[in-house]
Point group: C2
Chain length 247, copies 2
């Protein structure tokens, strides 16, 4: 799906295992904006993969409908068709179910945009966040995972891992920009890709303000300007820091 | 306290009404970094103010200890010494209690830093966020309010109001920078003050990554560079947009 949504694996999971049709579809499954999954990346299916995908779908549905405090193993059993004793044996309980749903979400083949310019790539990343959160259907699952992390340390750990892996993929955006001479050598890719998402997540999930596309573009333009000015270069690399990085 | 913490009112509330000593002190009360409250801004106390402050303290303690799903009117009654029927009559229930605790938190006299330079002010703002979240005691209450907003629409509304009011006060930072010629006329103050907080909130509450002071400084430096480059100027004001704001 995209950088932002912990549900990115939904589509891949369904292709991979073909979770049974009609089984509690998560609303996010039909709305993933990132279309292209290179065929070679789709793993062979099988009963285990199908079970895992069905369980993941039920976890997502439960989280988005009832929140973490309302999610129970009984609910997941009922909505996945997987027996409760199997769920307890393989996942341990609700925390394990949520963590595994996030792990599965991270196993897709999403790659960051490659528009040919740093500013284009940053704008595309920011717009993916905007697209995710401007539609209640696609916003529900990531919001539910993020909410769950306030209440479950295991969910928080899984969320940290999900985003670390997502942002690691985005390092290519900055690497290519450095190669093209659009960013100074030593630019902190981690900080750049997080900075382009953060103001949008902040407004929608922390300060509870509305988003618009202009805000996504402004955010991307601001990060681009800061990168160009050398504000994201790490101290021990290059002298190419025309401004902003020092106090 | 500061821009970031919805508990900013704690100190003012205690001064104002002098909530009874020994009553379930919230851990945040002793750690507010923003010391100076101009005397004229402290309202006269009284039984109503005392009651409200005691109730707010109990709400904060309950939220930080048990989270929103575990907060009950019974708990607040027990920890505030205010009768349950009074709580229901005045606040309606848990949602009203949480919303009013946030409203009260916003009624302090906090003003943004005024270091004499835009970069100094932005760094001071970013470091206040860092300070708040680097100490579990001061991080607990804002985290609990933000978590509550995922589960209560009234808490979300109150949180939106709290931050809107906080960031409105910060507009002075950008106004002064424009006056000093450090920022182009037409710089979007709202976007600037949010951008300097967002990456820190994002890491601590969304992606669940650790913070450090260098990250706060990097964030401030990046926003400063973007402001200098004109990336935050609104389109209809001035031609002083040397770069970044356009696609």
């Amino acid at each position: 799906m995209n950088t932002e949504s912990p549900t990115s694996g939904s589509r891949a999971g369904r292709r991979r295992g073909g979770a049974k049709a009609g089984s509690t579809p998560t609303r996010t499954d039909t709305a993933a904006p990132n279309a292209s999954q290179p065929p070679g990346t789709v793993r062979p299916g099988g009963r285990t993969a199908r079970t895992r995908a069905a369980v993941r779908d039920a976890v997502l549905t439960g989280l988005t409908e009832h929140g973490y405090p309302g999610l129970t193993v009984e609910y997941v059993a009922e909505h996945s068709g997987v027996h409760k004793t199997t769920l307890y044996r393989r996942w341990g309980g609700v925390e394990g179910l949520v963590a595994d749903a996030l792990d599965l979400a991270g196993e897709d083949s999403w790659t960051p945009p490659d528009t040919g310019t740093l500013e284009g790539d940053l704008r595309a990343l920011a717009r993916e966040v905007y697209d995710t959160f401007s539609d209640p259907a696609t916003a529900a699952a990531p919001s539910a995972f993020i909410a769950a992390a306030f209440q479950s340390e295991r969910a928080a750990d899984a969320l940290r891992g999900f985003y670390a892996e997502r942002f690691a993929r985005c390092a290519d955006v900055v690497r290519r920009a450095v190669e093209r001479g659009e960013a100074p050598a030593g630019t902190d890719a981690d900080a750049v890709v997080r900075a382009v998402s953060a103001p949008l997540f902040f407004r929608v999930l922390i300060t509870r303000e509305p988003l618009d596309e202009a805000l996504a573009d402004q955010t991307a333009a601001a990060v681009h300007a800061a990168v160009s000015a050398g504000a994201y270069t790490t101290s021990d690399t290059t002298g190419a820091t025309p401004g902003g990085a020092t106090g």
